[in-house]
Subunit: 707 residues, 2 copies
Amino acid sequence: MRTLLGNRLLGAWPSSNVSTSFASCSRRTLTTRPPLFRALPPTRTSSKTATTTTTTFKGQPLDKAALDGVLRRRMFYTPSFEIYGGVSGLFDYGPPGTALQSNILDVWRKHFVLEEDMLEVDCSILTPHAVFKTSGHVDRFADWMCKDPEFGDIFRADHFVKDVLETRLKSDKEARKQAVEEKPKEQKREKKKVKGQQSTIRLDDAVVKEYQEVLAQIDNYNGEQLGELIRKYDLICPKSGLQPTEPMAFNLMFETSIGPSSNSPSYLRPETAQGQFLNFAKLLEFNQGDMPFASASAGKAYRNEISPRAGLLRVREFLMAEIEHFVDPESGKTHSRFDEVKDIELDLLDRHAQLSGQTTVKRISIGEAVREGIVDNETLGYFLARIKLFMKKIGVDMHKLRFRQHMANEMAHYACDCWDAELLTSSGWVECVGCADRSAYDLTVHSKQTGKPLLVRQQLEIPRTVQEWQCEISKKEFGPLFKKDSKAIEAVILASTQQCRETWAKELLDTGKATIDVPGLGGVEVGKNLLSVDFVARTEHIREYTPNVIEPSFGIGRILYALCEHVYWTREGSDEARSVLSFPTAVAPTKVVICPLSSNKDFAPYVARLSKKLRAATISTRVDDSGSTIGKRYSRNDELGTPLAVTIDFQTLKDGAVTLRDRDTTRQVRADEDTVLRAIREMVGGEKTWGDVEKELPVFEGQEIDV
Amino acid sequence: MRTLLGNRLLGAWPSSNVSTSFASCSRRTLTTRPPLFRALPPTRTSSKTATTTTTTFKGQPLDKAALDGVLRRRMFYTPSFEIYGGVSGLFDYGPPGTALQSNILDVWRKHFVLEEDMLEVDCSILTPHAVFKTSGHVDRFADWMCKDPEFGDIFRADHFVKDVLETRLKSDKEARKQAVEEKPKEQKREKKKVKGQQSTIRLDDAVVKEYQEVLAQIDNYNGEQLGELIRKYDLICPKSGLQPTEPMAFNLMFETSIGPSSNSPSYLRPETAQGQFLNFAKLLEFNQGDMPFASASAGKAYRNEISPRAGLLRVREFLMAEIEHFVDPESGKTHSRFDEVKDIELDLLDRHAQLSGQTTVKRISIGEAVREGIVDNETLGYFLARIKLFMKKIGVDMHKLRFRQHMANEMAHYACDCWDAELLTSSGWVECVGCADRSAYDLTVHSKQTGKPLLVRQQLEIPRTVQEWQCEISKKEFGPLFKKDSKAIEAVILASTQQCRETWAKELLDTGKATIDVPGLGGVEVGKNLLSVDFVARTEHIREYTPNVIEPSFGIGRILYALCEHVYWTREGSDEARSVLSFPTAVAPTKVVICPLSSNKDFAPYVARLSKKLRAATISTRVDDSGSTIGKRYSRNDELGTPLAVTIDFQTLKDGAVTLRDRDTTRQVRADEDTVLRAIREMVGGEKTWGDVEKELPVFEGQEIDV
């Protein structure tokens, strides 16, 4: 039995600075995600080995600790409220992180919203109870948690089971390696060992196999099943040595209350999607009734993780960018611009490949993938290709991007197809964009709950005859009988599905009455004197339908972190290796650093004039006139990912020429101020590359040596 | 006695669609704002008459209802969760509102952050209890509320008193007008009247005067005093006719809980400022120790208003953009770029003018205002001038902008000076930007509470001798005595102020022991064997100081709404007046609408090519190929504030020429596609105006007639 609980938005990512042995085995090896709450998927680590085999784009082994050091030191991000001890799962972005995030979002907006004429909206984060009750989040958006009965420490139950079993397997492996000949101890005796020094314990081969099988499907257990595993294997808390309490559901939404009366519970949204669904009717009107169209929204969302481990990949407050593309389900979900992308090749890992245990991707053009039915429809395919182009624009390593299809049991019952764009990081393949076909689910449930139509009325050129179940209500008798409830009951009847009506028709025929499920009232019995349901033919001049939704959903923080890994490398220096973040100019936090060679006052007017001109061209610039050597300043700005440096030296005072340095090659050209400015403008505008500039302007050599 | 409660962020703004008589007198006539929680000021309506005398920039009377109709119809904004009945104080921005908001923020970022090299950060909205306990928000960020004892309706106590008194005064006025001769009734008898039809009641002249005096200082009463007023005047609830309950403090922060244990209370921030203060040490390091510098942040903030009335001016979730400029208090707060702005003239309403009852502003250059001491210092003056330039860029009517100085009793005890940028709207003068000199308050309290230094260490070129209280701790005896608490106690001692140390020195001298107030431990007694405090002279090579903060704080939603009023006007049409929103191109939601004259298929390739080219130039464009007449489509886009329209007609099919229409003048030019594209690029880029383009390209006449 699959659990309906626990959509894992943000994958666990073992922190480099968490030192307990319990945390050291925190990475999840396999995650399925209950699909109703798909928004953002969990981290999937394809295999443990991925961690150690990750390399920089220059082919060097990726030193994650060094990269994290750079990101912290240069204030890309920092734990929130650190001087107050911090709160796990909350991070502040410093200046380069904020600029990087905002540049990524800017590219996203131009690439998707502007390019596709999407209707961007900005909806409230505070959301009343009723909305998430309807969407299912109140009842099912939860994780299982359990508690150390002695110390009160709280664990996510699946993490707990996984961590303890992995610790045991690790211990077993070491025991085997040590070739200790003593017989495996009984599990009970292990209890005492845990508290003190960990010693290696060898397990039976059969036990090892059982543990491995449990771990392979760790995300498929519900609370009861996790409780059984805890008892069966006597899994104990690291501190107390006792079994934890029975797993309990913990809703992942942050709850608060609006206004002074305590009867208005509400939540911080866990996704931006619902606001877009609720505004569907207005958006359709704004779009002058035209279909298909897409809405889009970028904003904060929240998940009250039980115990997020350090790092940007699993956080409690995060930036999402979501698109809801509304499409006629009878259109075949074709896309008018599919031709523009059909030849783009993607690395796909489809459902069948995964079922047969493969991990190698298939490189195929999206046109072919749709033709062959690997990807369900053109619209979904169009977005997959567009996502790849977006990733390329912001600098993601194309060798570290793949599209993985959801397994049938990962998807919601209503979903047709779902693909995740995954980026390879030192924590394995991380799901950064979910791209799902959500059918008509959300619009249907909200419309049903509120009685407000969320549908499209299409004028038919040729009227058509449809056979369908029609309800007729005896209004005269309805009102006096149900009084103030009559409107609500009528609304439910009018908004009912064909399937529902068919059931009522049968009930009325069999028993003379039908049971109508009315929100807030429960099952209301309605006799055949009040309601008749008949299967009738009718000529339709206007067709009404609830659109299907195809939803690409971006986790900006995860993309940002993965990107940092993808563009990070080290340059061999004269003394030590130096870190570089080779962001493309489009997303680099700062485009140009201006370095006067020394603190000599004569440089000041040159610096001032150059900054002013760059600012006037709205090119993000910083001046680095610190006392450090020019080499150290270049290094600092390499770590900040600044693509260009302009240096003003003593020669400048004589001839007005300045040098322009390229971060990635460390090569330099030299020319007068205006020529260099034009070159910068052209590179920032994307018209020219460094290669072009180097061909046009005289190469300069010097300065780089004095680190 | 002034209340410490209740900073009113967002001024009340009577909704046009709230129909109860109670709401009709909801506008506040005078508001002071307790200064600790200054962020954003309340709406000040200079006088009731302002409402009716507001005119469009074309001099027409402003029809607020018509403007609101346009803003709703065109989906600039819409009540959040409307299909679920909505939640007061929460609004969603539709596509034009979202684009407008994002464009205003973009101008803000370029004008302030980029231009001034500010360090932009993005901090968590979720904030733990400890932070707001220190800042004072937990204890004092509250409004007084009271309840209808029968129906449970909750009112803001000051609003309640004001509303009832104003209703009585209104009734009195009508009674006098009707010249009804009956004697004013006793107040007791009024009770019954309220429930039924309101009849006019004449008051004694002395009572009228008393009521008016109360209303004039309505924001200066604390809860107890408001309770007294309710009893004294027998103010009764409109529904029950009973006196409400005694006013109680209601904290305006939304509370929630982080993680699964309920012992981590936290809040949604009511301002972005605290995150910037907490990161001060890291930001200073990022800035390589250079002073002065500014940080900046734009993001959502929250206030749990007791009963916000409809409208964008008082909301529960809002976008703020705040700058914290850190400056050496001994620098005289000069600003290196003050010269660039010194000749800019501002309309100032200073403290003295307000005290003497004046409402007319003084036009004066900021250079003179600082020289004369009207504005306290250059840095504050620099920001006031820059705020004016920002307002001008986004299209605010310069005749509807003034800078009002806070009265002494409006300011925090630590503040030196504070000015609000106010915009004139149909609700009177609305405070949209607060610009305060907050001294060293925030950094000091956080540093004191956490024991973490939030200060600047400045290398002195010439060492200086300072006399000060120094603490010496006997570490040998400290540790064994206080054990695990010793570090915390030491930290408090080391972080203590001079004043504190002086007190301890006295205590030690008088009683042989001093009481150290340690967070979490309370008062800890320390004997003179453990601690000595002496007044010693010492030569300082490095000076340490806590910077002062000058804080311009922008309420983007309020600016956005006021701007809509400022750019709104109506054009006399052939049939009816048509609404126009004349946004400057920089902030207009969409820059260009492309209109094919009819649905003729031959127009399609022209539309597609033009859109593609405009998109490639990242110029926000929409196609309006709806079936409406071209005149109706122009009207629709005038309401959306789209400055330019390109029309493709049958002549285009022959000669490739298209027309370009200017929203404000409705004049048109006609030229080939590329020429028109270049003109658009130049106008959007700000290089040319419509006037320039009209001089260069052949004028075209036609199309506009067929509305």
